[in-house]
Assembly symmetry: C2
Homo-oligomer: 417 residues x 2
DNA sequence: CAGGCTTCATTAGATGAGTTAACAAAGTCA
DNA sequence: TGACTTTGTTAACTCATCTAATGAAGCCTG
């Protein structure tokens, strides 16, 4: 459906130029030449190709500076689309975004955890189909699916390495299965990493900066972005900030470590603390038997917001523990920004932001070299799902758009039974 | 003094090929072609250029596999040299290494901390000159100097951001000054980062792995290497593992953080604990007034080695705390190997290694994805100085050798007074 | 041991990305 | 209106890399 680049080298250049246009939202050819280090002549040619493919369109001109005004080019948002699927314990969020990462459709359903993976993934596939249909998105324009989950995973093979939500999910080829159902390439990734890269595309972080993201839903995860790319260690199971120790003498966690952050600061810990706080549990009508502790947590956060002292004390304590981990994160990764993302920051995000910023200002080692900003995510509670879609876009943009059309089954799912 | 590559692209390719040859120690052209993804024809041409420049030499042939045997090429160790200078509090180590990173000369002097920076750097410069002279190294063959220190630094400007060892060192342009004295480019870097990259060149880590290094001298530092390159955050002040908190409720550290690892596990902490242990202080004749606590620490480590229970208890405790930090390091960076380097591991390294390995095995989050090995450094107590020299080599190898001969003053020291 | 086979290495011609330099286009300013 | 400035395109050229053919150096077999 488009002109394929003739060589790998040109594909890389095209990806580079596309990413520059994307990051700047609108850019002239001279600016692109300066930013990429290429010649105006080369940029001219590359842009012509991209316009012929419909990926890029001219959009007005900038104010003249004594000569011919610059013609601005920008991405054609409707040229491609991408799907993001987030699997949480009790919630599955599905979004469709356009080429610039803006959400064009969204749906969600509850309880993927109580289903066997086959059924959950079939449901995901049918929901994706329905979403694409209602949004009137041409399927040929969908570059792929970003499937995000929590916990350790084998990203290459597209499977989860923990028996969560239930035993059946362990080692189940979720990416391959979904790719087969949908006939689209599916990338598996970590929810926090996805949220982090989503911030890069849609947020206010400097494209050249190194920044971290703390993602809090039922658990606590993290992601770090270096020069626009997710930091990946040897197996892409990096920045698992929920399971770093904040106390050597702390209690043992099922993960094997002691004093894990999640057991001090996570929603489940806050709810547990609230249930043990006389008066608070009754006041907020907290149900100790409720399995979905995120709603209980949201109630506590709301109470903290409106000034309930006990609730506020609990949230601030959680924030202070998170602040300690944020300091560790910035001391090790030397980030200049920390983004707070995920549904568990939506209600009391401003309390968390203030306390964590305070801790970081006081305690970060590298503050002599530069300050560290703590900011909320622009993508709200859907940050992970949107980020997943963006990851698929980014992967296509920098690599895959060299081989258009040929891809109907996931590259990550070569070895499905 | 050599044929310059004609373009930036070719320079990159040459650097790539050189690094492949270096990593493999000896390689045939077909292997290089396979590893780089280039054609045999291209490799042939590039290797011919490198041989004409004297950087590479043919060295025998490999066992034939049914056809013409492969001609092996390797780096010519005598083609270039590099200098590493490590500034510790009480010790300055200077080494000269050849193109493959092997030490060809070494010297050291005590007490850089008690001198003003001008004098210390003049002394360094004269020592470097003397060392090059006695080792009969042609100065034209020296590609640069890697100057390594501890604590926060501005790597680009080549200066330290803390008033250590003394106030005069704060913001003093040490890299620029040394570059001017020596007429050689000087790179400033972190000691732990240098030790880490030294391990990559000379050690047994897999070139494609992501690994971490814990460097312990008077303080505790860290470095992470990803695909052969030092991880650098936004300001290169990353992996400051000595100042991550291992206890949220711990005592405040001068750095601003609470419960810093260094105050639990560092040599000064161990010496302090030993002085407070009845009997041990007398038994080991520890001097509370001694300013150089590294000798006291070495004595404790030696006692632990030969079975003194109290000393062993202290060392094991220190190791366990370090283990906690090592777990945090691997949980965040997802490393597959952790290297222990620096003078403070030389005496009781095996105790540290065993305890840290045990902690990592039990507590690391990503152990479901892969194990994490804990290994001692191959470069012993000079790991940082050797690593500094290697950093200068690596920088030249991947970039600078495009513009031979023209460089007589440091690129990092453009703005010296 | 001659000739065939295999694998390695080099050479010659083709390809194509990117550059330089000249030129066309579209504005401002006197 | 014409000189000047800046943007963007066109055309000829450079050079890194590839493909394909050839030479080189060993093994194996009859």
């Amino acid at each position: 459906m488009a002109t394929s680049p003739t060589s790998a080298s040109r594909a890389r250049t095209r990806g580079l130029v596309l990413d520059m246009i994307r990051a700047s939202r609108a850019s002239s050819r001279v600016e692109l030449a300066a930013a990429t280090g290429l010649t105006g002549a080369t940029i001219s040619e590359v842009v012509r190709e991209l316009m012929a493919d419909g990926l890029v369109v001219e959009a007005g001109r900038s104010a003249p500076t004594g000569g011919k005004p610059r013609t601005l080019v920008q991405l054609n948002p409707q040229a491609r689309y991408s799907v993001g699927v987030q699997l949480e314990r009790n919630l599955c969020v599905i979004v469709v975004v356009d080429l610039v990462g803006r959400q064009v459709a969204r749906t969600s359903f509850r309880g993927p955890a109580v289903m066997p993976p086959e059924r959950a993934l079939r449901l995901v596939a049918s929901q994706v189909d329905a979403l694409l249909a209602t949004a009137a998105v041409d399927r040929k324009k969908v570059v792929g699916v970003g499937l995000v989950g929590y916990g350790p995973q084998d990203r290459g093979a597209g499977l989860l390495l923990t028996p969560q939500p239930s035993d059946e999910w362990l080692n189940y080829p979720i990416a391959g299965q979904l790719a087969e159902s949908l006939g689209l390439p599916v990338l598996l990734d970590n929810d926090a990493a996805a949220a982090a890269i989503g911030e890069y595309w849609l947020g206010a972080v400097d494209p050249r900066s190194t920044y971290g993201c703390i993602y809090m839903a039922t658990g606590i995860g993290g992601g770090v972005v270096v020069a626009g790319e997710v930091y990946r260690g040897s197996s892409s199971n990096s920045v698992e900030i929920g399971h770093i120790s904040i106390n050597v003498d702390g209690d043992e966690c099922p993960c094997g470590n002691v004093g894990c952050l999640e057991n001090y600061a996570g929603p489940s810990a806050v709810v547990r603390q609230a249930l043990g706080t006389p008066g608070l549990a009754q006041r907020l009508a907290l149900d100790p038997a409720d399995d979905d502790f995120l709603t209980e947590f949201a109630r506590i956060a709301a109470a903290a917001n409106v000034g309930d002292p006990a609730a506020r004390g609990l949230i601030e304590r959680s924030a202070r523990y998170l602040g300690c981990a944020a300091v560790t994160l910035s001391t090790l990764f030397d980030v200049d920004t920390i983004v707070l993302a995920g549904p568990s920051f939506t209600v009391a995000g401003s309390i968390y932001q203030a306390v964590i910023q305070q801790e970081v200002d006081r305690r970060t080692f590298a503050r002599r070299a530069h300050p560290v900003r703590v900011v909320p995510s622009v993508n709200g509670s859907d940050a992970a799902a949107i980020g997943g879609a963006v990851l698929a876009l980014q992967s296509w943009l920098t690599l895959n758009h060299a081989e258009e059309g040929a891809q109907s089954v996931s590259a990550t799912a070569a070895e499905t039974p």
